[in-house]
């Protein structure tokens, strides 16, 4: 009987990490941040059909970078989890925390399991609180690690100084047009307007209904540059 070649756990994990990281490095980043009225998700995405941001539940949005098939699988799983829970209990019992931790377990599980391909995705779960102070943005990385907070989250590759700019200028009192322009500048590394390349979705509590998610039409996004 042959003995399998020994690979140290450190080496094994770092190989997998390199693999997953490489899958995300070539992608466009996504910015998820609180603005004056709610939470906005801004992606650089030339496609009008294959979305990077979407609705999970009444007050919960989803954004992703990385392999499209994998993020689609996780997005749909999130909608199933949320709707099942909302149907079994109540719509208010669907929480961003439970979704984010489930994602972390699924992604982290695949990352740590021999013979399973690690997910090449980075996700954000954005949750609009019933009061502003309860807003939360969760970010789940390709290894299942999870970060949580009220500060803007950047998914995918972005230089540290641009991340700092986003954190400095995109705060919870920034109006939507400023917020989108700021996110777009960080995503493109230039101040050139690129409204046609942007996918912008918001969670806006002022919509009146239960469902707060809105995908902004290209015309609306374009007006953010008209005003400036």
């Amino acid at each position: 009987m042959t003995t399998p070649a020994y690979v140290s756990p450190d080496q094994w994990m770092s190989d997998r990490a390199d693999y997953a990281r490489r899958g995300i490095e070539d992608e466009h980043a996504v910015v998820v941040a609180r603005y004056a009225d709610g939470i906005c998700m801004v992606a650089l995405n030339p496609s009008r059909t294959l979305h990077r941001t979407s609705e999970i539940h009444d007050r919960i949005g989803f954004a992703s970078v990385g392999r499209f098939d994998e993020s689609e699988q996780l997005r749909v799983a999130g909608i199933r989890l949320a709707d099942l829970r909302g149907y079994a209990y109540d719509r208010l019992d669907v929480t961003g925390l439970s979704l984010a931790t489930t994602y972390a377990q699924v992604i982290g599980g695949a990352f740590a399991t021999m013979g399973q391909k690690p997910y090449e995705v980075e996700l954000a779960v954005a949750e609009l609180g019933l009061v502003r102070s309860q807003d939360r943005i969760f970010k789940i990385s390709w290894d299942g690690s999870i970060t949580e907070g009220t500060a803007p989250m950047v998914l995918g590759p972005m230089s540290p100084d641009r991340r700092e700019t986003v954190e400095e200028f995109l705060i919870d009192t920034t109006p939507l047009d400023d917020a989108v322009r700021c996110a777009a500048a960080a995503l493109t590394a230039s101040s050139e307007p690129v409204p046609d390349q942007l996918e912008v979705s918001i969670l806006d509590p002022r919509t009146g209904g239960r469902r707060t998610f809105r995908r902004l039409a290209a015309d609306r996004v374009r007006t953010f540059w008209d005003a400036a």
Partner: protein, 272 residues
């Protein structure tokens, strides 16, 4: 199927190609769905919601339902609701065993929203009507034993730019209606009124008035249907679906319409 360690979600959560909430739930949590068989001697099954009417007018559809639930000869609830927004552009009204009917509505609403979120667009009106057929049919075993839940589905068809109404039978059979539809114990009486007074070119206010009138007439002859309850301020629920989506007519406005009808009835009896 054996799950690899670490994948915490059961396979159906991660499966591709299914955008139906009901089908998904049947695989992971069938107990959450309405039962498909029940002991038909259960007294709860006699708890009935009664008359629902739907009618077209010049630029949309009106759906209205009375507020009474009965159990045999007892009135068990005075303010039950049987008409609901199914989504942003369509309305569902239900008659039949109350517990199952309300559950059917909740499942249908979740089903439509679930599809919309996964696919990124709403089902066509025809598609929604077909989906409702399937949900009704899963109740078939009970329908055979006489415990049917009969929905009426109506909405604004954005593709064909007109209001449409679908009625159902206990087997899930779906029939598109040309002008109006009624369901529940008082349906014959409501239909008689609609037959006399309905026109397709009515405006919205006339249509709301006729819907309330039809329910009033049903309550006049059917003990299980409630007319306007002036003492407690409980009036039929009236919903509209038109180009701008679903709107609920406020209780104050329904009250005004109902009182006008009662006045008319009083006047016509005095002059007789």
């Amino acid at each position: 199927m054996i799950q690899p360690w670490g994948t915490m979600l059961p396979a159906p959560f991660l499966a591709a190609g299914n955008d139906s909430f009901a089908e998904f739930t049947r695989t992971v949590a069938p107990d959450l769905l309405p039962p498909t068989t029940l002991d038909t001697s259960m007294p709860e099954l006699l708890r009935h919601g009664t008359t629902v009417v739907a009618l077209k007018y010049s630029s949309g559809v009106v759906v209205a339902g009375d507020r009474r639930a009965t159990m045999g000869t007892l009135i068990v609830q005075h303010d039950i609701e049987k008409v609901f927004g199914a989504d942003d552009t369509s309305v569902i009204g239900v008659a039949g065993a109350a517990g199952l009917a309300i559950e059917l509505v909740r499942l249908f609403q979740t089903e439509l929203e679930h599809y919309e979120k996964i696919e990124g667009r709403a089902l066509s009106l025809e598609g929604r009507a077909a989906r409702l057929s399937i949900l009704v049919r899963s109740n078939l075993a009970m329908a055979v034993q006489g415990i049917a839940v009969i929905p009426v589905f109506a909405g604004w068809d954005a593709v064909h730019h007109r209001g449409r109404i679908f009625s159902y039978d206990g087997t899930g059979g779906r029939y598109e209606e040309y002008a109006f539809s009624t369901a529940g114990s008082g349906d014959i009486f409501a239909k008689a009124t609609l037959k006399q007074l309905h026109r397709l070119d009515m405006d919205r206010d006339e249509a709301v008035q006729l819907a309330v009138r039809a329910i009033y007439d049903a309550s006049d002859d059917d003990a299980a249907t409630a007319g306007p309850d002036l003492d407690r301020g409980i009036y039929p629920v009236v919903l509209i679906a038109d180009e701008d989506g679903v709107t609920k007519i406020s209780t104050e406005n329904v009250a005004l319409v109902a009182k006008r009808i009662l006045d008319e009835v009083t006047r016509s009896n005095e002059s007789a």
